[in-house]
Every structure is written in C-alpha cells, then in structure tokens.
Symmetry: C2
Subunit: 232 residues, 2 copies
C-alpha cells in the first residue's frame, strides 16, 4: 500500500490539474490529497521545499515539481505520452510548458487568481486591484499576443497534445475564476486552439472537476476527487 | 552552414554556462554569440519571448530555455548524458535543476548578481543594498540549509553528475562575483560537494572561462570563447 502513487495538492491548482490530466490520459491509478499550499505545516515544507503543489509520492520517493512529475510519468508509463515523439516537437512542448509554468502561470495568471480568489477567500483580505489591472491589461494581453502567433490552425502547440497545451488550458480556467474573459475577436486562433484542448477527454474531465472543487473545502474535494477518479 | 548549433547568450550568464558545460561534456561542436539579455532588440524578443539567455538555434529551429536545451541535447547527443540513467535519479536531477533555475537562480542569486554587478556596470546605477541583504542574510542561507541536507557525502545530487549539479555550481560563481563567500564551517557537506562539481573537467573549464569573460566586452568574449571551444 505504501507504494501507491499519491498526488499531494488541491486540484484548485492548475499545476495539480495538469498532473491529474496526464495521469488520466495514461490510466495510471492514483490518490490525491487536496493540500492547500498556503496552509501547509513544517511537514509540507519537508516534502516541498518551495511549498508548491503538486508533490508526488510513491513510497519514500518524493518529487515536488509538476514538470518533473509529468516527465517521470512519461518515463515510467510510456503507453500514452505527455510529450510528442519527435525530439524537436518534444523540445518545443517543454518550452511552452516552461513558458506557461513560470511566466504565464506564476507571474501573470496565478497573481490574478491569488488576488481575486485566494486573498479574499483564504486570508480575508481585499485584492490589490493594481496588480490585477497590470495582469489583465498588460502582461496577459502580451502573453496572448505571443501565443496567438504560435498556435497552429489545427492540432496542438507541438504536434500531438502535450503537457505544454494542458498547462495553458488549466491555467486559463483559474483566470476565468478570477474574472478574466477571453476576447475571441482579438485572439481567434488562440480561442480556437483552447477550445480544441478543452475538448480532449482528460482536459475536459479535469475542467469539470475544477468547477466542482473550486468552491469546496478539502474534505468535500476528497469526495469529488473519488467521484471523478475512483478510490486508488 | 545554417544548421550549425548556435548558442545565443553571454557566458556571464550561469544558464549559458550550464549549456556550454553540457555541450563540452558531449563534445558537440557549437558557436556562441555572447548576447547580453538586457540589451537585446526586437529581434532578440522574437527568438526569446522572455528575453532570457541562452537561446539555441539550429537552422530555423529555435529553443529559448536552458533546461529545454539540455534535455534536447540529451536526446540528440546521448553518448554522454546530462541526466542520470535511473528514472528516479533523473527525476531528482530535474527537480534540483528546477529548484536552482527558478528559486535559487532567478529569485536569489541572480538578484544579487544583478544588484551588485549588472546595475553598476550596465545601467550605471547604485545597487539596492536592501535586496542584497535580503538575499545574503535570508534567502541564500535558507537555500544552503536545504541543500546541505540533500547533498551526499560522496558523488553528486542524483547519482551521476547532472545538469542539477552543474547549474548550482555555475550560479555560485555569479554569487562569488557579487561578493558572497561560502562559509564552509556552516555548510561543510555543500562545500565539499561544490568542490567535487567544480573539479569535473567541463565545469572546471566553464568556470575558468567565466573568470575571463566577466570583465570582457562582447567582442573580447568572442575571442575568449574561441580560445576555449575552438571555432565551430
């Protein structure tokens, strides 16, 4: 039982949902413990030095980064791949994943989500609307301008569906919760690509899960997770 | 000639030197154009959307992230690997690389180096010593406490020498330039591990290169690069 694959982290996090979508694609059984990163104690810092989610645990093997987890899953469970087969496509997929994880996610959308959703709800504080405006009017439109030029007319960012597509789609869900709306007239190619990603079975599933967990407490999240993914 | 592997970015950057060390380990011929990230024009933003270095170019294939570059190099030139063979060791190596790239590098050491070296030299401004003190007295000691508990008594962070070891060593060089000194009494295991990494042939080579390029202009850097790596 100790060697069961466990994902620690609330699926309200787009990084957790990226990993859940990949586990679903690969049909790998897992359990998910919906830890809230901001509220973790010292034990959480021990397994996640940067206090981020998700953390993967298999027995005493611990891995505290969503990208490292997805790459591990591709090597341990290669039947359905989260990165394309061609090595240049794989490299491009990793670039888009890094761009999304770090820049679009941590520096743009997560700030927005933190201000508009986490601060009021968890910390009972008002959002800093100057930070929100900077994201909505500056950083996010610039990122969408970039992605509008990169997404293809058909298919995905780097050929096959990859972790690079999935993380952008899961991040956009958090942006929607924070009051952002996608202007499909301004970014039509991006909007069409996002609809394609959201229509894939595993992303569609974690998006539906997301809308249920966002207003639930950790105990309710556990029940919802089991309904979507069974009891591992 | 257009399909020659080109690295764009000054070797003053620890991320550029990580890639140069890996290319050296693999004996892959390359040329390096010592672009300064802060000074790039619109053409640079086109190939590196986050205006970071290094960027790899092979013909019209462009890859603007050091970790994606190293992973590409491992797949395209697998003779000498930059990640260990065991999949759990590989995963841990990637975690340490992410920890170093993002947290230790971008949030701690590069801030220090930017304040103490880049601001005075490039922008003719005084460093913000409050930021410097926060790094030297808070963030950096905390990171070293963490790494002190992770480095092994012998060998490297994840078994064989990996990109995870290399990037921490190249980052520490930039910290030394910014006036940091390693307290080997406080962090003895880290100090011994760092000495082992610095003694490996390719890291030793990029460290020696680093000390020559740090005070050189881009044209002089080109000459120094050719002396170390030949003319690709």
């Amino acid at each position: 039982m100790t060697d069961k694959l466990t994902i620690i982290g609330t699926p309200v996090s787009p990084y957790v949902r990226k990993v859940l979508a990949v586990l679903d694609m690969k049909a790998v059984p897992f359990r998910c413990i919906p830890q809230v990163p901001f509220l973790g104690d010292e034990n959480f810092t021990r397994i996640s030095p940067l206090r981020r989610v998700p953390v993967m645990q298999i027995g005493d093997f611990t891995l505290p980064d969503s990208t490292a987890i997805v790459q591990y899953l591709d090597e341990a469970h290669p039947e359905t791949m989260a990165y394309p087969g061609d090595i240049r496509d794989r490299a491009r997929a990793r670039w888009f994943e890094e761009y999304a994880d770090d820049h679009l996610g941590r520096n743009v959308l997560f700030k927005l989500f933190f201000q508009r959703v986490v601060r009021p709800r968890i910390f009972k504080e008002e959002p800093d609307e100057a930070i929100v405006a900077e994201a909505l009017e500056g950083d996010l439109p610039r990122a969408l301008d970039y992605l509008e030029g990169e997404v293809p007319d058909e298919g995905f960012l780097a050929g096959d569906l990859s972790a690079g597509d999935i993380i952008i789609a899961t991040l956009m869900k958090n942006a929607l919760w924070a009051g952002w709306q996608l202007d499909a007239d301004r970014w039509p190619r991006f909007a069409a690509w996002l609809a394609r990603v959201n229509a894939t079975p595993s992303v569609s599933k974690v998006n539906a899960l997301a809308d249920e967990v966002v207003n639930a407490n950790p105990k309710e999240q556990m029940v919802i997770l089991r309904r979507y993914f069974g009891k591992a």
